[in-house]
C-alpha cells in the first residue's frame, strides 16, 4: 500500500517535472560534448573530494613539525618532500585545498547576494538610488583589485577572515553592475508588463520574475571568477596579509618556501602547481558553463 503510494508519487513527480528533467539531460549532453569542460569539471570535482576527505586522504598531519626531517626531497615516505619545518608537503597541499575552497565559497557567499540585491534595486528603481549605488561601485572599482584588497586587508589586520572580507569588498561591484544590467533589460520585457497588469507588487516582480533570470549570468560570472579569487587570496597570503602560519594555505606555503626555490625547489613549487591546477580547472569549467548557457546553442526549439 505504502509502496503503491510512493510509486504514484514518483510517477506524478516525474510528470510534473518532465520539462526540467529534459532540460537537465540536455545540459548533461552539452557538457559531455565539450572535452575541455569535462576536464575542468573533473579537476574541480577532484579538488572538492580532496578537500572533504582530507583527514582520510592525507598521509600525515599538516601542522606537526618534524624538525629532524626538514627539507627532505620527494621520496616514497614523503611523495612531495617536506618543508622547512619537516611537515609533509603533500598533506599540507591536501588540507590547503579545503582552505582555498573555503575562501572562495565565503567570498562568493558575501558577494553574490550583496551584488544581486544592490544591482536589482539600482536597475529596477533607477533614479537617485541607482546613482548612489553605482557611484559607490565606481569608487570601489577605481582601484586595482589586488591593491585594494591589500589596503583593506592591512587595515583590518592580517588574517584569513579579513582576507576574505577584503576580497569580497573588491568584487561586489562587478556583480552589482551585472545584476543591474540584466535587470535593466529584463524589466522592459513584455512579461514584466504583464505582471504589472495583473497587479503583482514590485517586490514580487523583483524576486520571482527578474531574479531567476539574472541568476544564470551571475553564476557564470562567479564561476569564471573562482580562479581569480584563489589567485588573489594566494597573493594576499604570499604577502603576509592572509593566512598566518602554520595554516597550510597554498599562498603562504609559497611565501615561506620562496627562499628555498633554488636548492629545495619542491617546497614552493608544488603549492604553486596546486594553485595553477585549481585556477586552470575553474577557468575551464567557467568557460564551459558560459558557452553552454549561451541561448544560441540551446534554443533550437523554435
Amino acid at each position: 500500500m505504502v509502496r503503491e503510494n510512493l510509486q504514484n508519487w514518483i510517477t506524478s513527480w516525474n510528470k510534473r517535472h518532465s520539462s526540467e528533467i529534459s532540460d537537465f539531460k540536455e545540459t548533461g549532453y552539452l557538457i559531455r560534448r565539450s572535452p575541455l569542460t569535462m576536464v575542468g569539471l573533473s579537476i574541480i570535482l577532484m579538488l572538492i573530494i580532496v578537500a572533504i576527505f582530507a583527514p582520510c586522504i592525507a598521509p600525515y598531519d599538516p601542522i606537526t613539525m618534524h624538525l629532524d626531517n626538514r627539507l627532505a626531497p620527494p621520496s616514497k615516505a614523503h611523495l612531495l618532500g617536506t618543508d622547512e619545518l619537516g611537515r609533509d608537503i603533500l598533506s599540507r597541499i591536501i588540507y590547503g585545498a579545503g582552505i582555498a575552497l573555503n575562501i572562495m565559497i565565503i567570498v562568493l557567499a558575501i558577494d553574490l547576494p550583496l551584488g544581486i540585491l544592490l544591482g536589482l534595486i539600482a536597475g529596477y528603481f533607477g533614479g537617485w538610488i541607482d546613482e548612489i549605488i553605482m557611484r559607490l561601485a565606481d569608487i570601489f572599482m577605481a582601484f586595482p583589485r589586488l591593491i585594494l584588497a591589500m589596503a583593506i586587508g592591512t587595515a583590518l589586520g592580517p588574517n584569513l577572515r579579513n582576507t576574505m572580507i577584503a576580497i569580497a569588498l573588491t568584487m561586489w561591484p562587478v556583480y552589482a553592475r551585472l545584476a543591474r544590467g540584466e535587470t535593466l533589460s529584463i524589466k522592459e520585457r513584455t512579461f514584466i508588463e504583464a505582471e504589472k497588469a495583473l497587479g503583482t507588487s514590485n517586490l514580487k516582480i523583483l524576486v520571482f520574475n527578474i531574479l531567476p533570470l539574472c541568476l544564470s549570468t551571475l553564476i557564470v560570472r562567479a564561476t569564471l571568477d573562482m580562479g581569480n579569487i584563489i589567485r588573489i587570496a594566494a597573493g594576499m597570503s604570499f604577502l603576509g596579509l592572509g593566512a598566518q602560519p602554520p595554516t597550510p594555505d597554498w599562498g603562504l606555503m609559497i611565501s615561506t618556501g620562496r627562499k628555498f626555490l633554488i636548492s629545495q625547489w619542491w617546497v614552493p613549487t608544488f603549492p604553486g602547481f596546486a594553485i595553477l591546477l585549481a585556477v586552470f580547472g575553474f577557468n575551464l569549467l567557467g568557460d564551459g558553463i558560459r558557452d553552454i548557457s549561451d541561448p544560441h546553442l540551446r534554443r533550437g526549439r523554435q
Partner: protein, 333 residues
Amino acid sequence: MVKDLLLEIKDLRINFYTYRGVVKALNGVNLKIYKGEFFGLVGETGCGKSVTASGVLNLVQNPGKIERGEIIFKGKDLLKMSKEEIREKIRGKEITMIMQYPVSALNPVMNNGDQIAEGLIANKNMSEREAKKRVIELLREVNIPEPKKIARQYPHQLSGGMAQRVMIAMMLSTEPSLLIADEPTTALDVSIQAQVLSLLKDLISKHKATVLLITHDLSVVAETCDRVGVMYAGDMVEVGEVDQIINNPQHPYTKGLINAIPSDRRKELVEIRGSVPDLVNPPSGCRFHPRCDYVRDLCKNEKPKVLQVEKNHIVACFLYEGGYEGGESGRTD
C-alpha cells in the same frame, strides 16, 4: 509566347541536423521560374519557403545540409558550382536578395551611398566618381527624395520604408537576372508597403528583371505576382497563375488558407483544424493529411503526385487523379 526558363529547382531536399533530431525541412521541392515574371512563394512558418531561397543561393547554414536536388540557373546547376564561382558570379550579382529587416542587413558603419558604391566599384569596375554618380541615379529611381542627403546618411537614420528602398537600389545596382525578396514588406506599415511593392513592380518592368517574392501574405501575392507557388511543410502543394490560385484553388490547404485570411471576401474566418507538423517526425504520405477534410487512406501512405488541373496550374493532391476536379470521389467544391 515562349517563356524562357530562368530558374528551375528539381527535387530539392534539405535537412537540418539538430539536437532533437533531423528536421526534414524540404521534401523534394520543384519549381520553375520564367524570365521576366513576378513569382510569389507563399506559405506559413516552417513551410520551407525561406529555406528554398537560401538553397538557391547555396547559403544553407550548419546544421542544414542540401541532401539532393538540382538548382538550374540559366542552364547551369548552382549546386555543382564551386564556392568561388558562386560567390564571384552569382551571389549579389546575378541573383540578389532583399530581406525583411533591411536596417540590419545594411552595414551600420558605412553611409548608405558608400555601401551601394562599393558593389558598383567591385563588380562593375567603375571608378569612385562614376559609382557615386550612379548611386544618386539609383536612389532617384527608387523614389528616394533628396538622394544626396540620404546617400550621406547612415542606415540607422532611415525609416523602414526608406531602408528597404536603399536595399532595393543596392540589389538592382548589379543588374541581376533574379531578385529574391524574402518578406520585404512584412515589417512595414500598410501605406509604406504599398509604396515599396508598387516600386518593385515598376522597377521590374523597367529593368526586365525577374522577382521571386517570398511571403506569408496571400493578398500581397494576389496584388503583385503573376504566378504563385503554395508551400506546406516542405512541399510545393500547388502552383499556378495568380487568378487560378485565388479563384480556383485546388489543394485543400490552399483553400483553407484562403478561407482563413481576413480579406475583402469574407465576414468570418474559417480555421484549418490541427496544427503545423513537427518536421522531425512529419506525417507519412501527404504531409497535410492529418488536417485535411478530404483525407483517404491513400493520402497516408503515398506522397501525392503532381497533377495538372488546367493550363499552367498544377497541384499535388490525390483528389485530382484524372486531372480534373473531383476525380474518383466525384466531389465538386
